[in-house]
Point group: C2
Chain length 324, copies 2
């Protein structure tokens, strides 16, 4: 009654922004991501009648906070959906190999690893697609972290809104540089930010339509192994997502002054013939998409432009793995 | 054959962003502005058979650049439309009382003063509405600068797209603080920026609809003498205008790092009970809308937060005036 799984984080190239159903975490638009090798979560789930209570250990420490509630609720949902409500108490032991400084949310790898470990600890054998449907209930972006390389999360109903592989072993020379300029906890959590935007932004409907078109372009770029098109579409899609927030009532933004400095640096690098593009999630830290030959030049330029920034490098990571 | 006119700049509270006709400068949406006392242009136009050529003096110097072409073209259009093509050569002498540091475009006051002085120098007597139609052909925002207080520029066809007074002597206690953090010439001129957005932004149609709704709200706020509603609508309308640029292909922004610092300062002031809102044109310099009692506190806060910024204060200005 014990299993360990490893899941990698992912960065959305076509963003998920807004739920059409809060309970089932059903998105208004399909999203597409790159799974990252550098950031992952290892999680062990054990069910045992010897446990007098449920427990959650994170990075070696017993935790009892909001995240503990989310973990326990997630296990309860899985037990319910898989008819395993008579299982004994459990212990979840999780280690995040996601440096806080990366500015990359650990919830995608966290809920993917938790779901896979819990299901295996129950002695059940589910497909990645079935696991991704369960992972979705913990965190939307976790839906894509079951798969390696390029992965997609489809909008749909509770049964069809699942992750799938676009290309788990891409040929594309594609790297990500996470530029961490601000380690502070973000002021507007993505859950409330996106919901406010869905409810009040005059641009929300146009966003959903644009995201559909961008997804088609991005899928084409991946099939054609076209880095330039991928970068352009990713950058434009991210900015369009952030634009929906500016048009919300009241308007808000995740941009910080250093976000704009980093954006300008990327534009300057492009003007100098260094091919790179940026994307930005619901936080201030820019992520740069580029190719091997440009990494050193980009790092050198950012060390000069934003000397206090931390830069962490990643490329394609694998899908879910079972460590035991 | 000589006349002098004074026109004041205006700040759009509901923005003009995008033309449906380039030649006639017909906007997709109506806009609404506050005419400002602190910034104005004095322009003398003289027609004389003694002049061997047309000349343009700006701030005491003979000018021969892109702006000279715009001035000459504008006079030519007025002569054509008013059947005055047999007039002799002219001299235009213009003085801008618009500190470059204010980050406020002088084209609104410039083309309003030029139009009024030229028509009067021709010996013709046109209504402000007729003058505003002519001023529009030089610069869209000049359409509103014929009127004092709150003015509107209506979308429509070439005959009906004119300025009008909403309230030339408003009771509202309303002041503007122009926060100049960046005196550099803007990288993307508003003419090309707005045209790129019209052609490529997925949010442009939604912007036009939102601007219509915001105009109704703003008109109501003015009628009700409701500063808070006016500020909220102005801030949200400006951000929605800037959001259309983020969603253009490629995306672009007029925000600079200090723009975000200034926005955050306004939000912090609000959190501390100081009522103020911001608006932003096609450039990086924030303009703050507030009431008399809060001016000192805002200036003090900005002196601390952005010590290098220049702050220039204004309130309602009058419509077109003839100095001779």
């Amino acid at each position: 009654m014990k299993a360990t799984a490893r899941a990698h984080t992912n960065i959305a190239l076509i963003k998920y922004w807004g739920k059409k159903n809060q309970n089932f975490i059903l998105p208004y638009n399909s999203s597409l991501s790159m799974t990252l090798d550098a950031f992952y979560t290892d999680t062990t789930v054990e069910f045992s009648s010897g446990f007098t209570t449920n427990q959650f250990y994170l990075n070696g420490e017993l935790v009892n906070d909001e995240m503990t509630d989310r973990v326990f609720n997630h296990i309860h949902k899985i037990k319910t959906l898989l008819n395993q409500l008579d299982l004994p108490n459990f212990t979840v032991t999780s280690t995040n190999h996601v440096p806080t400084a990366a500015g990359l949310a650990s919830s995608s790898s966290g809920f993917a690893a938790l779901t896979a470990a819990a299901v295996k600890a129950m002695g059940l054998d589910l497909s990645k697609s079935e696991l991704s449907r369960l992972a979705r209930l913990g965190s939307g972006s976790a839906t894509r972290s079951l798969f390696g390389g390029f992965a997609m999360w489809s909008t749909g109903n509770d049964l069809t809104s699942v992750g799938s592989a676009i290309d788990e072993h891409p040929e594309m020379d594609l790297h990500l540089l996470a530029i961490e300029t601000n380690g502070a906890r973000k002021k507007i959590p993505s859950r409330s930010g996106m919901q406010n935007t869905v409810e009040t932004s005059a641009y929300y409907d146009a966003w959903v339509q644009k995201a559909k078109n961008d997804l088609d372009l991005m899928t084409y770029a991946i099939k054609q192994n076209d880095f330039e098109l991928l970068g352009k579409v990713a950058e434009n899609n991210a900015m369009a997502m952030h634009a929906t927030n500016l048009a919300a009532v009241p308007s808000f933004t995740y941009f910080e002054p250093d976000t704009l400095v980093a954006m300008q640096a990327v534009q300057e690098l492009r003007n100098n013939g260094i091919s790179c593009y940026y994307t930005l999630d619901a936080g201030p830290n820019l992520k740069i998409l580029t190719q091997s030959k440009n990494i050193d030049a980009i790092k050198a330029y950012f060390n000069k432009k934003l000397p206090k920034a931390t830069i962490i490098q990643a490329t394609f990571g694998p899908g879910i793995q079972y460590l035991s």
